[in-house]
């Protein structure tokens, strides 16, 4: 999928001369040549015909804070930050010509593009933070919900209460940091736990997991400013990837339950699935997965210990990227 943004980004990658104008006067310095590329604006002059050109300023356009054009007097006021971060102001008088008009236009366009790109970068960073946090909270929440089921099999209501309390906090965090509000479902789960009716609790846990899974499938993050980003195949984590984190978390956390119950058939069924999810996630997230990436020729096989190692790496990676201490 190609977008205007992609083309523009590609165009900015190589430095390319956009406009050049001679007989430009830099106030308090004298006449010289003003060059504009897609990356910088530069003024140079010569003291004599055979003397070498001297660069008075060469400013990276990303450092330009202000470029004000007076079309009546063909004056350009440039303000930028020097390497020490101090503001520097230069006033340039351009000869009246079409070339000067072209330079003004090009400068305006390129600065606008840079501003857009900077905004986009910022949005991308925010969006990534949002995705990592969502992914981490989903990972934790799925783990806690499955843990509740494990504790139900031991009728350990004290442990269920403790896990539920953590799950409620994580669900709150998911609503605040992420894009998913499942507080109503968690509330009904709490009511079920208070009733100490284990089958009812299991049904509520399943309903909560279904809501998370469906939400990850059907809904894109609601924030308007991220709508465009969420549709792009941008580098980094994608909304789509959280689905695999969800599936991996669910299957992985259930493994210990099946082990506890001696359900070997379910373990055998889960391991190749976990290997597939892991290979997808390893493509996106630095997991140092020992499961490896399964090729089409290879049947995904794994051992529980390597799944555990992959899960631990995934959890660490999610935690780190989500900025959770």
């Amino acid at each position: 999928m190609s977008t205007d943004h992609d083309e523009m980004t590609a165009a900015l990658e190589e430095e390319k001369l956009l406009a050049q104008l001679k007989s430009v006067t830099l106030e308090n310095v004298g006449k010289g040549k003003l060059s504009l590329t897609n990356k910088r604006i530069e003024f140079g002059n010569k003291s004599g015909l055979f003397s070498p050109a001297r660069v008075e300023f060469s400013v990276d356009l990303s450092r330009v804070r202000l470029a004000e054009v007076d079309e009546a007097s063909y004056t350009l006021v440039l303000e930028w930050l020097n390497e020490s971060g101090e503001p520097v102001v230069s006033k340039l008088h351009l000869p009246r010509s079409d070339a000067a008009n072209d330079l003004f236009r090009s400068l305006d366009n390129v600065l606008e593009s840079l501003r857009y790109e900077a905004e986009l970068q910022e949005q991308r960073a925010c969006y990534q933070a949002f995705l990592w946090k969502t992914a981490y909270h989903v990972w934790v929440l799925v783990g806690l919900l499955v843990q509740i089921v494990r504790e139900l099999t031991r009728e350990d209501w004290g442990a269920v209460d403790a896990s539920l309390s953590e799950a409620r906090e994580t669900a709150n965090a998911l609503a605040v940091d992420g894009a998913m509000d499942i507080s109503d479902l968690v509330h009904t789960l709490i009511e079920a736990v208070i009733s100490r009716d284990a089958p009812l609790v299991l049904r509520k846990v399943t309903a909560t997991l279904k809501a998370i899974g469906t939400s990850l499938h059907n809904e894109l993050p609601p924030a308007g400013e991220w709508e465009e980003l969420s549709l792009q195949n941008s580098p980094g984590l994608n909304w789509r990837d959280i689905r695999y984190i969800f599936l991996f978390a669910g299957r992985y956390k259930l493994l210990s339950l099946w082990q506890q119950l001696g359900e070997n058939k379910r373990i055998e069924d889960s391991l190749p699935r976990l290997a597939r999810f892991s290979s997808i996630l390893a493509d996106k997230i630095p997991m140092e997965s020992q499961l490896g990436r399964s090729s089409r020729e290879e049947e995904a096989t794994s051992t529980i210990s390597s799944v555990e190692a992959a899960a631990q790496n995934l959890e660490n990676s999610l935690k780190m990227n989500a900025g959770i201490a």
Partner: protein, 452 residues
């Protein structure tokens, strides 16, 4: 992640590359292609199938309340209860008097350990006083415990369990046993309106002070008449002094007496002693029938380990049981008789249900002129001896007779308990005393009406 175009169906890989539907791997990036909907569905179904591992319907819940009640349940748990399926054991004691269970607590499963059936201890929190002593205080203690409901729920007493029998064992002379027991049963009934209940109530010994008899009488009044009728389906009243005198013989020839006899009786009630596969024992049915007939107070009569060769027949063993009832009984007033019989396998052929029923009916007719109903529940034991165990539960006698000593103690003590200071200190209101009397009178009058 399947997209359906106008003609060809495609499926997206995790990197959003489109592949023909049915592809297992992406032709571009090589990543596996996952059908998310299907995987989600499978995951949820797998989880939901775990329900078979979390169905802990407790058919029998044993509650021991107060010092003696806890000891009785603990004894039963150790003797017979451990092997009972679908059962839970909960001991409820006031925290100030819990020191006696220090050794017991060491046997309780830790939070991490899962044992089935499980035995646990719940301490009713005490704020100031470290002695309960009186009925009113025990009731106050239980009703002020905000965690009691949850503890009962955790023991499996909940409305989702349709077939459930609660066995509440308690000595009614003490404060916790007499006061907390009716309140606890009331909460259990509220948490599971479907449950059936049998209270095994130990009445105080003759030498105990009037306050103990007062406690027992008040407690009994609560069991027999609450806001919506009797709290307990069946109350098996056991006089402490009579219990001390009755003796039975176990399958190995050992003596069964005192508290062990009560433990044995509970074992017979739930079919814990005989062969469970052939047992017809259903305490819930006995409770249901008793409530339906409006007869709630019963006197147990035990004959344990009676040799058929020596006694010569079932009627003589029934006579033996009737000769030593565990509380005072008036034969003329008996309207309902439940008989639990445990027959060794070797006598099973000669003592089949029909034979026993015929003999029982004849014996009943000879002994109980006002009998309106009789239930026989037969079970078999693997014992090689010819010894028969028999537990007769006789209902219809007025409480004024069964609990005569408690009533007398109550009469003597009530003048003290009516005082204002008593209400503040010991939690029995001035209205509570006549109410207790009225409740017992109400039940006895109801029996009189039923008999006529």
């Amino acid at each position: 992640m399947i997209s359906r175009g106008s003609e060809n169906k495609v499926i997206s890989c995790p990197n959003n590359h489109q592949n023909p539907e049915g592809s297992a791997w992406c032709g571009i990036c090589g990543l596996p292609i996952i059908d998310y909907d299907m995987e989600l569905e499978l995951l949820l179904r797998t989880l939901a199938e775990g329900e078979q591992h979390i169905r802990f319907a407790k058919e029998n819940v044993f509650l021991g309340i107060g010092d003696q009640g806890c000891k009785l349940v603990h004894d039963f748990y150790r003797s017979w209860g451990k092997s009972l399926k679908s059962s839970e054991f909960l001991l409820i004691e006031s925290s100030g008097e819990s020191q006696q269970f220090a050794d017991l607590r060491t046997e309780l499963p830790s939070n991490q350990e899962y044992t089935s059936p499980s035995l646990s201890l719940h301490l009713l929190p005490m704020s100031v006083s470290r002695q309960v002593g009186y009925y009113g205080l025990g009731e106050r203690l239980a009703s002020n415990d905000p965690t009691l409901d949850d503890r009962l729920l955790r023991s499996g007493i909940r409305a989702s369990t349709k077939k459930q029998t609660i066995f509440l064992l308690s000595a009614l002379g003490g404060g916790t046993g007499s006061g907390a027991s009716p309140y606890t049963l009331q909460r259990a009934n509220a948490l599971n309106p479907h449950c059936r209940s049998l209270v095994i109530a130990m009445m105080p010994a003759a030498h105990e002070p009037d306050s103990a008899h007062f406690n027992a009488f008040c407690s009994l009044s609560r069991f027999i008449k609450a806001d919506q009728g009797p709290l307990a389906d069946m109350i098996l009243l056991v006089d402490h002094d009579r219990l001390m005198k009755v003796r039975g013989v176990g399958s190995m020839g050992e003596e069964i007496a005192r508290e062990s006899l009560l433990s044995y009786m509970v074992g017979m009630l739930v079919g814990a002693i005989g062969d469970r596969n052939s047992s017809q024992v259903d305490p819930g049915y006995l409770a249901k029938m008793s409530r339906s007939m409006g007869i709630h107070a019963f006197v147990p009569c035990m004959a344990v380990g009676r040799s058929m060769e020596i006694f010569g027949g079932l009627a003589n063993i029934l006579e033996s049981a009737l000769s030593s009832p565990l509380a005072q009984v008036d034969k003329e007033s008996i309207m309902l008789s439940h008989l639990l019989v445990q027959v060794p396998e070797r006598l099973a052929a000669s003592l089949q249900a029909e034979t026993i029923n015929a003999e029982l009916n004849k014996w009943n007719k000879d002994n109980f002129p006002r009998l309106k109903g009789s239930v026989l529940q037969l079970s078999h034991s693997s014992s090689r001896a010819d010894r028969i165990d028999l537990c007769l539960l006789l209902g219809g006698t007025r409480l004024a007779i069964i609990a005569k000593r408690a009533k007398e103690g109550f009469e003597r003590f009530k003048a003290i308990a009516k005082g204002k200071a008593w209400e503040q200190e010991f939690g029995v209101t001035s209205e509570g005393v006549p109410e207790a009397q009225e409740a017992i009178n109400w039940y006895d009058t109801m029996l009189d009406e039923l008999a006529s």
